[in-house]
């Protein structure tokens, strides 16, 4: 219950004037001029005291100013009656304090706030008596018999400490101390004339006239009082609730509202309005926000009309949760994460790219160690719809190494380090992506030769040192899942159907052994680790433009990935092609006496292919290959292509091509082949690919020898020094296990200019199953070599079965041998007396195929020793496919032109032969002379002219012989010899015994 002010003041005046005893018993009363002692402190300057002076604090608890000039405050000891006084002056405003400073103690401590009056009374620290007197006359009361309480001059009286002899009410105040004063409750308002109840001991807190005023009894229409913390701290994205409240002394607090800008993750929860006056509304401030600093204002309102409100402002500081590891810690300086299989939490990163089953993120705060990648793939299994590029995220999950194709030991693929089963928290969006690392000049330069140098166990994941500065796979691994950038990139392979383009940087400035057309050569010792494949695997997939070798890009930006056994650059911005301008090559047409033999893998040609493919290949044969006389074809499919039935015949396939060649302006080729047994020769299922011959019957004759079947092995017999095939065309050892699921070699016998040429067209088993160049097994194991070596051995033996009968046999081995000129298979063939013509080309021209940017030789033409010696082979790889985005086949064809003149004719009877005398060069020991051949006929004798010397004496050698035929040396001249003309040829002899020479001469027109 509230007592009206005027009423209570009246009661107090009456009580004080008429009945002190009543006053003691009355409740607190207020009257104008009602000034009270509100605080007493006597420990000033004592040990432990905060202030160095004693003081007496007065307070005007009334609603009117009180002039205290002429009044005094007086002090007497606890048990004494000798009063010291300090005269006052001034006016105390309603609610104002009035500080009277007294004597200082010995301690050097803080000064009091500026006092209104300064006195010198040394007051008792633990007990004493203080009076406010309305005059300046020292009191004489204060003992039990002469109580000052009720003295008309005493406005207020306080006995403090237990030993005080006089006090108001039931007892003195609690004892003050050096640290505590005694203060009147209600900040001075409470006055029940009972020192024991009205005062409490508090930490000394002097108030002066400048202190906030205190209006006693102003309780009407009390405000809403909010209770909020000034600050809240928490972890990002970690829910925490802080209690808020508000009370109202005369109303119910009914609502709490956030009036500041909405912050995701910050809200009020569990708002419970107050149910009674002066009880609190309770609410929770729930914070589950991203890292950052926020300022929230909460407004409380009561049920008054109009409603009263109170607001509080709260500073919220949300800090990121501690990451258990950074990305670089997960990646480590190795191919396998040091944390694989372990859980990681709150790994920070910026989302840099999205795929269909996860996303890449990269640490925006990298360290200075280039060996440890700052990027990683987060595997979400399905499309990661909860994140966007530029999001700052924290990811928790399990570290895993993903190996495409599975973890079988036969799989040489490297792994991608990833965070699996992720819990993803997006902290913010629209962040700038980490700057891509420049690859090449001015940035990180990739190794250009060594892929892996020291995987001693053969597995770089379990051995060797991680050396990104020198080893190619380590270099790219150190950038795995990071953003990188190339400038002046050049394509070293064409774009393909997988959306890939192999490139190198800086226009290939640091690359070794470039082809003249812009590619880069793979050699036995250089796998070109500076290559990387542009890829389109991000979502949404970028457009990969049609690109050919030598085309360039001013800039390529993307993320380093690894898939399908090699490193990829998954581009993040569109490509702009700068054409390099390569055009399909055209070979030189053969001359009359040149036999042109080509090898062409036509990549699964079948009648279901678009007519354009037939037309393109036909045009290539006519216009680029200049209608070779013989074409060894590989990858000819049967008449219904990959339809997997029992059809094996390929006559429609070849007839379609032959007709297209005619349409393109070429000759009417014929063909020879042997159909395979269904599904026994490997390749595209159902396609029954095989090898075969196209030949131009106007230029060459195919010598048919019946008997060749899919399973019969062709043999070679000796017919008077002439090798005779048991079948032509005929397969070579087709049932040998070396040809399981592989194409069988096909031998054919041709006649050109009266000369026999044996050709063997091949399509050795592919490189499937080999370890990848950029794989975990180093150096890569090429398991497919085993079968090719077996196949090569069989073919080599067959060739030798021919050359053993006739060392001068013309043998050509050609086709897609699926291996390099330095491979074991080719070495076997070369050891059989064959010459691989590709080795006659400059090293940077030895390629028929481009695999992932590596230009390399898979197709070969090898010739026997006689052809090398006599036929002046001119070999040409015609680059029309492998380097181009638009290609009829993935292989380039190759052509050899062999000069095969008609066999030599003995024209001795048609010429006159003259043998000159000889002169010995004493310095060299060689006799020199001439043999002259005069055409005595009326017809021109065609060259070349070969003059054979038969039956030279023992010990005599024709030292300038061009060759030997039938065991006799000969010298050669070009010819022709017109009628009556003479051809004179020099002859030189070594004749150590200087014997008289005696020999016969035979003259031949034409080559031996």
């Amino acid at each position: 219950m509230r007592i009206p002010f005027a009423f209570t003041a009246a009661l107090r005046l009456i009580a004080r004037a008429a009945a002190p005893v009543l006053l003691l018993a009355s409740s607190a009363g207020f009257a104008a001029g009602n000034v009270v002692i509100s605080q007493v402190f006597g420990g000033g300057g004592n040990t432990g005291a905060v202030y160095k002076n004693d003081f007496i604090e007065l307070f005007n608890r009334s609603a009117a100013p009180v002039n205290v000039t002429g009044w005094s405050v007086q002090y007497a000891s606890a048990t004494g009656a000798s009063w010291q006084k300090t005269t006052l002056t001034g006016t105390i405003q309603p609610g104002q304090y009035f500080l009277v400073q007294e004597a200082a103690g010995a301690g050097v401590v803080a000064d009091l706030p500026t006092p209104q009056v300064v006195g010198t009374i040394a007051m008792g620290g633990a007990a004493g008596k203080v009076a406010l007197v309305n005059n300046d006359v020292a009191l004489t009361c204060g003992l039990a018999a002469t109580s000052c309480v009720g003295n008309a001059a005493v406005v207020d009286f306080v006995g403090y400490g237990a030993t005080a002899s006089n006090f108001e009410g039931a007892g003195p105040t609690p004892a003050p101390s050096n640290t505590n004063s005694v203060a009147r409750a209600g900040n001075g308002c409470t006055d029940a004339d009972n020192n024991a109840a009205d005062f409490t001991a508090i930490v000394t807190a002097p108030r002066n006239g400048a202190s906030p005023s205190n209006t006693c009894g102003a309780v009407a229409n009390a405000p809403v009082v909010a209770t909020c913390p000034a600050t809240i701290s928490g972890l990002a994205n970690t829910a925490a609730t802080t209690n808020l409240g508000a009370t109202d002394a005369d109303n119910l607090v009914t609502s709490a509202t956030i009036t500041s800008a909405t912050v995701p993750g910050i809200s009020l929860v569990s708002v419970v309005p107050s149910t009674a006056v002066n009880t609190a509304l309770q609410a929770g401030l729930r914070v589950n926000a991203a890292a950052g600093g926020y300022t929230i204002t909460v407004q409380f309102a009561n049920d008054a009309t109009p409603a009263q409100t109170a607001s509080c402002t709260i500073a919220i500081n949300v800090t990121p949760p501690a990451a258990s590891a950074r990305i670089r810690d997960i990646q480590g300086a190795n191919h396998i994460s040091p944390l694989v299989g372990q859980a990681v939490t709150n790994v920070p990163g910026i989302v840099t790219g999205k795929k269909g089953n996860g996303f890449y993120m990269q640490d925006p705060l990298p360290d200075n160690d280039p060996a440890t990648s700052e990027g990683i793939f987060v595997f979400t299994s399905t499309a990661p719809s909860s994140v966007a590029i530029g999001d700052a995220v924290r990811v928790s999950g399990n570290v895993a190494e993903f190996r495409g194709g599975g973890n079988a030991a036969t799989n040489s693929s490297l792994t991608i380090t990833q965070i699996a089963a992720p819990v993803i928290v997006v902290e913010s969006s629209g962040n700038t992506l980490p700057e891509p690392i420049l690859i090449g000049i001015g940035g990180r330069v990739p190794p250009n030769q060594i892929i892996e140098s020291d995987a001693s166990s053969g597995n770089l994941e379990t051995s060797g040192t991680f050396k990104p500065a020198t080893d190619g796979v380590d270099f790219w691994e150190s950038l795995e899942s990071m953003r990188i950038r190339f400038v002046n990139a050049v394509a070293v392979g064409p774009s393909n159907d997988f959306g890939e383009i192999p490139i190198i940087g800086d226009n290939g400035a640091a690359a070794t052994l470039r082809s003249a057309r812009g590619g880069i050569m793979a050699t036995a010792t250089d796998g070109n680790p500076e290559r990387i494949l542009i890829d389109d695997s991000l979502v949404p997939p970028p457009i990969i433009p049609a690109t050919s070798v030598g085309d360039r890009f001013a800039e390529v930006v993307g993320i380093v990935d690894y898939s399908f056994n090699t490193y990829k650059l998954t581009i993040t911005q569109p490509l702009v092609v700068i054409p390099g301008g390569i055009v399909p090559e055209v070979t030189v047409a053969q001359t009359q006496n040149q036999l042109a033999i080509a090898a062409y893998n036509v990549e699964n040609l079948d009648p279901n292919d678009p007519p354009a493919k037939f037309a393109t290949i036909a045009s290539q044969i006519v216009n680029n290959l200049k209608t070779p006389d013989i074409i060894g074809m590989t990858e000819i499919q049967d008449n219904n292509g990959p339809t997997n039935d029992s059809v094996v015949d390929a006559s429609t396939t070849l007839t379609t091509l032959i007709n297209a060649i005619v349409v393109a302006g070429g000759p009417a080729y014929s063909f020879r082949l042997i159909n395979p047994v269904d599904d026994q020769d490997g390749g595209e299922p159902g396609g029954n690919i095989r090898v075969g011959y196209l030949y131009n019957p106007a230029r060459v004759t195919f010598v048919d020898r019946a008997g060749g079947t899919a399973t019969s092995a062709t043999t070679v017999t000796n017919a008077g020094g002439v090798p005779v095939l048991s079948a032509s065309p005929g397969r070579i050892d087709p049932t040998n296990a070396a040809f399981n699921s592989s194409r069988k070699p096909l031998v054919g016998e041709f006649l050109f200019n009266g000369r026999t040429v044996y050709t063997i067209v091949n399509h050795f088993n592919s490189k499937g199953g080999d370890n990848s160049l950029m794989g975990r097994y180093q150096p890569p194991v090429r398991s497919s070599e085993v079968q090719r070596t077996q196949q090569a051995t069989i073919v080599a033996n067959f060739v030798q079965s021919i050359t053993a009968i006739d060392p001068k046999a013309n043998v050509v081995v050609l086709g897609d041998l699926n291996d390099y000129e330095y491979s074991p298979a080719l070495t076997i063939l070369k050891n059989a007396g064959l010459t691989d013509l590709i080795e006659g080309l400059p090293e940077n021209e030895r390629y028929t195929y481009v695999f992932e940017g590596n230009s390399q030789s898979l197709d070969h033409i090898l010739v026997s020793a006689n052809l090398m010696a006599k036929a002046a082979p001119i070999y040409d790889i015609v680059h029309i496919n492998a380097e181009f985005a638009n290609q009829a086949s993935d292989h380039d064809p190759e052509v050899v032109r062999l000069t095969l003149l008609p066999p030599a004719a003995d024209i001795t009877a048609s010429v006159q032969i003259s043998r000159s005398g000889l002169v010995l060069n004493r310095a060299t020991g060689v006799f020199s002379g001439t043999i002259s051949v005069k055409n005595t006929t009326a017809a021109t004798i065609n060259g070349p002219i070969n003059v054979q010397l038969r039956n030279l004496p023992a010990g005599v050698t024709l030292s300038n012989a061009a060759g030997s035929e039938g065991g006799f040396p000969y010298v050669s001249g070009t010819g022709p010899i017109v009628p009556g003309a003479t051809l004179t040829l020099p002859v030189t002899f070594t004749n150590p015994a200087r014997v008289l020479l005696n020999y016969d001469v035979r003259v031949y027109s034409g080559s031996f």
């Binding site: 043998r915 010995l920 002379g929």
Partner: protein, 212 residues
């Protein structure tokens, strides 16, 4: 090699300034030859005279070397091989009887030397196309490398003897030719009429004089 003389039998001598004819009278044929060796003067070397058949069926041929006018340049006795006899101090003869027939004479070169060649033998009347070759080379004293040649596989003087015909060629380097070891700049002398064009080509290489 430059073919500069093709001489006929005596009976037809003078029938052609170019000496392109052949005859049937088998009488000896004589030539006087002068060689200018000014660039070699004062150096030692060898004179290598050879007369070798091409084959065993080459008709008989012989050559007599006389009138060697620079006796002072000759040093010691000659080395004789096969059918070679005599000496340059008097008269030497080489017969094509063996596979190798030669006279090798050490010399101290002067500014020039001259000598007479007298060819004889059945080749003069034989139709056989198997020939014999006369040759003269100037050799370095130790290495036996030919001196003064424009064609290192040729000879200083080559005389082809076949079917009654004698034809001379020379691979001697022209005087003053860069790199030439020697040269001969004497004018053509002798009685054999040498075509003017040939003379110019020879640059005064040497002079042959056919003597009846």
């Amino acid at each position: 090699m430059k073919s500069f003389i093709r001489q006929t039998f005596i009976a037809l001598a003078g029938a052609s300034a170019l000496g392109l004819l052949s005859g049937a009278i088998a009488a000896p044929v004589t030539y006087d030859i002068t060689v200018n060796t000014t660039p070699l003067a004062g150096t030692t070397g060898k004179l290598d005279f050879q007369l070798n058949p091409g084959v065993i069926t080459s008709p008989n041929a012989n050559v007599t070397i006389t009138n060697f006018n620079s006796q002072s340049m000759l040093q010691g006795a000659p080395q004789l091989d096969g059918g070679a006899t005599g000496a340059l101090t008097g008269s030497a003869t080489i017969v094509n009887s063996d596979g190798f027939n030669a006279l090798l004479q050490d010399v101290m070169f002067g500014s020039s030397f001259s000598f007479r060649l007298i060819f004889d033998g059945s080749f003069l009347s034989s139709p056989s196309l198997d020939g014999t070759t006369f040759s003269l080379n100037l050799l370095a004293p130790l290495s036996f490398l030919p001196l003064g040649l424009s064609n290192p596989s040729g000879n200083f003087i080559t005389g082809s003897l076949v079917s009654g015909l004698i034809s001379f060629t020379s691979d001697a380097a022209p005087i003053g030719n860069a790199g030439a070891v020697t040269g001969i700049d004497a004018p053509v002398t002798g009685t054999v009429p040498v075509p003017a064009a040939f003379a110019l080509v020879l640059l005064g290489l040497l002079a042959l004089r056919r003597v009846r």
